[in-house]
């Protein structure tokens, strides 16, 4: 009785932005710090 949810691979947001010429603009406006997911107060 295992409930299985298949996961499918899709093109990442980074690749989508890259293909639409928007990645540079995104990176200029954001300074990615993965830690902010876990430390919302500090972020």
């Amino acid at each position: 009785a295992i409930i299985r949810v298949p996961l499918v691979k899709k093109k990442s947001l980074r690749k989508n932005l890259m293909e639409h010429g928007l990645l540079d603009d995104f990176l200029k406006k954001h300074s990615p710090n993965p830690a902010s997911k876990y430390f919302p107060q500090e972020a």
Partner: protein, 328 residues
């Protein structure tokens, strides 16, 4: 108001997505199954932001089982916030009906970049302790209703295939791994946080020499650690930042570099270069990613999909432990 923080950068490189249905009849959504957060949210018809226009949107009026609330929800994205309301409805997950599930319905979503996100929403699988406003996470609700026979779930990520990856609720399928599962106690119940003994290369400690904490996070693509430690590793493996914000590396390095070994609870978990160097048609990039961590929090690592590709992972809520075994 429910407040949550879901920095987009952690989802920038996410490639694995699942489908759920919400409501009666079910409305379909593509979501990230994220062990690094605990809330469920999807876009709604109340949202007219450009980002929502390109995604499936939940319409409460087309669901006979929807129950609204007056509670608002806000999820910060660094430069803006997704705002919305909380409601209850039936969630279809892997053919099972999870009734009376609380979830967020977005009304605004920030930034044009979200328009291009390959997912509609997020389904959090961490502990209820970090769920905003005490909203019951999906897996807790499933367990409370007796929908799963074991209080655990497991994740297998197929590295190369378009299909084959799976989240399994309520059980472990041994065909996905080799040998035995090694169990690691959860050190802090909130995220799926464990203690790492060391990170070594060629038998020498390259980080975490005094032990450190790590979060096992299916909602983060890469393997993250403190900026200084990661900068050293990028230097060791010859990775350099490219114009896309990634750490580019020669694909030929896959044949020459040593394993990087995470020792956890006394067991070694080697990552071969074929695991920590990500190959695509555009070239190769490092699977490591630095992050700025508050000093008081000590040395924290995130074991994202780069690690989970190599190790079948069990998230055992009954015993508050994580099970790891090499993928088959």
């Amino acid at each position: 108001t429910m407040m949550a923080t879901e920095p987009l950068e952690n989802y920038m490189d996410m490639e694995y997505f699942g489908t759920i249905g919400i409501g009666t009849p079910p409305q379909e959504f593509t979501v990230i199954f994220d062990t690094g957060s605990s809330n469920l949210w999807v876009p709604s018809v109340y949202c007219s932001s450009p980002a929502c226009s390109n995604h499936n949107r939940f319409n409460p009026q087309q669901s006979s089982t929807y129950k609204g609330t007056s509670q608002s929800v806000s999820i910060a994205y660094g430069t803006g916030s997704m705002t919305g309301i909380l409601g209850y409805d039936t969630i279809q997950v892997g053919g099972i009906s999870d009734t009376n599930q609380i979830f967020g319905l977005s009304k605004t979503e920030p930034g044009s970049f979200l328009y291009y996100a390959p997912f509609d929403g997020i389904l959090g699988l961490a502990y209820p302790q970090i769920s905003s406003s005490g909203a019951t996470p999906v897996f807790d609700n499933m367990w409370n209703q007796g929908l799963v026979s074991q209080d655990l779930f497991s994740v297998y990520l197929s590295r190369n295939d378009q299909s084959g990856s799976v989240v399994m609720f309520g059980g472990i399928d041994s065909s996905y791994f080799t040998g035995n599962l090694n169990w690691v106690p959860v050190s802090v119940e909130g995220y799926w946080q464990i203690t790492v003994d060391s990170v070594t290369m060629n038998g020498q400690a390259i980080a975490c020499s005094q032990g450190c904490q790590a979060i096992v996070d299916t909602g983060t693509s890469l393997l993250s650690g403190p900026s200084d430690a990661i900068a050293n590793i990028q230097s060791y493996i010859g990775a350099r930042q490219d114009s896309n914000g990634q750490m580019a590396i020669s694909c030929s390095a896959i044949r020459n570099l040593p394993d990087i070994v995470f020792t956890i609870n006394g067991i070694q978990y080697p990552l071969p270069p074929s695991a920590y160097i990500l190959q695509s048609q555009e070239g190769c990039v490092s699977g490591f990613q630095g992050m700025n961590i508050p000093t008081a929090s000590g040395e924290l690592w995130i074991l994202g999909d780069v690690f989970i590709h190599q190790y079948f992972t069990v998230f055992d809520r009954a015993n508050n432990q994580v099970g790891l075994a090499p993928v088959a």
